[in-house]
Amino acid sequence: MKPAPFEYHDPRSIDEAVALLARHGADAKVLAGGQSLIPLLAFRLARPAVIVDINRIPGLDYVRNEHEGLAIGALARQRQLERWALDGSPFLCTALRHVGHAAIRTRGTIAGSIAHADPAAELPALLLCLDGSVMARSSSGQREIPARELFVSHLTTAVRADELITEVRLPGLPDGAGWGFLEVARRHGDFALVGVAAVVALRNGRIAQARVALFGCGAAPVRATPAEQALAGQAPTRGTFAAAAREAAGTLTPDADLHASAEYRRSVAHTLMVRALAAASERARGPG
């Protein structure tokens, strides 16, 4: 239960950090909050030769309103965003409260959770549901990776080994839209067995737009795109939501493990999707 030896660097700038990543490539690992990486080191499931600890880079712990949403620096902690979201961003706050426990969120970063890409994690699903993106920097430049292209598979993203996520961009809810966020876990703070993030906007009593991201249901979080398209233009009734959820759950290929069977996960995904859509349309209708 002790990490294998590694070479430790704590660069003081992004340039210095990406130069280290360029030099060491896949032998290096970025260390942010350490709440996923240090357990991997302790179990020796990861044995990087080089650790690039970004915690001493000044100016990366910001959360600000920008690009019609939030710009979140790579060192903004989950707890920090949770506090920020207490005032007027209940969707974010609810999702964050499901991430581990307060002591985990003290250190864990938003960017780290997204980079880690656990298929049962809340924040990747939130990013996908809100059509967010990340800014990735390497020694050869910077690019923006949209959430839809980011999550490739279990613990695998489109971010290259020589790239550092410097910022997470989280757009706000569409005008007048409501949200729903639900998950089933064994205990509060555990990774979800299954979870759903949903957004619904209404126009003249009909669904103008619906978005659903499912997590814990496969190798990566997924958008229920065909169901979203089928929902557009419909009346926001329980029956409409149930039909969409049936369609979405039927296409899922969840893993079976010791926590739950694939069939159970599919069934929970269906139930949670109906409830999350209903909650979202209720909030879209209500005073806020």
Binding site: M1, Y8, P39, D53
Partner: protein, 149 residues
């Protein structure tokens, strides 16, 4: 690059030690500073026994490298009591039998301290959510003692 010197404040005292960079903060506290009140259960963040306050906020000492704590202010269970006078939480745990084997108690005390600093009048549901991060066979005793005191 395999060793570094770290300087940190623990329970109001300043320490300086040279440690291997792969050493965790929990091992630094226990092995180098002789502060063995910070217990290790799982060593991967799940049990909460090693929880300390890092600049006032609860954090797992097993999930930080000692070098990362350079310059930090820490509070461990040894720093809770004021000399012979127990901290009110320790007093309450004692009075209401809020522990069984006591192994995970240090982490629970610090988690509870940070929680109460932020929520002076918590609800039952908030207490349950707080304790979920420190699974313990004594949890029912703890939640009932914290609700009574």
């Amino acid at each position: 690059m395999t060793h570094r010197t770290v300087r940190l404040h623990v329970n109001g005292r300043e320490y300086e030690r040279t440690v291997e960079v792969r050493k965790t903060l929990a091992d630094l506290l226990r092995e180098d500073l002789d502060l063995t009140g910070t217990h290790l259960g799982c060593e991967h963040g799940v049990c909460g026994a090693c929880t300390v306050l890092l600049d006032g906020a609860p954090a797992r000492a097993c999930l930080m490298l000692a070098v990362q704590a350079d310059g930090a202010r820490l509070l461990t269970v040894e720093g809770l009591a004021d000399g012979e006078r127990l901290h009110p939480l320790q007093e309450a745990f004692w009075t209401h039998h809020g522990l069984q084997c006591g192994y995970c108690t240090p982490g629970i005390l610090l988690t509870a301290k940070a929680f109460l600093d932020e929520h002076p009048r918590p609800t039952r549901a908030e207490i349950r959510e707080m304790l979920a991060g420190n699974p313990s066979v004594a949890a029912p005793a703890i939640s009932s003692s914290s609700m009574r005191s």
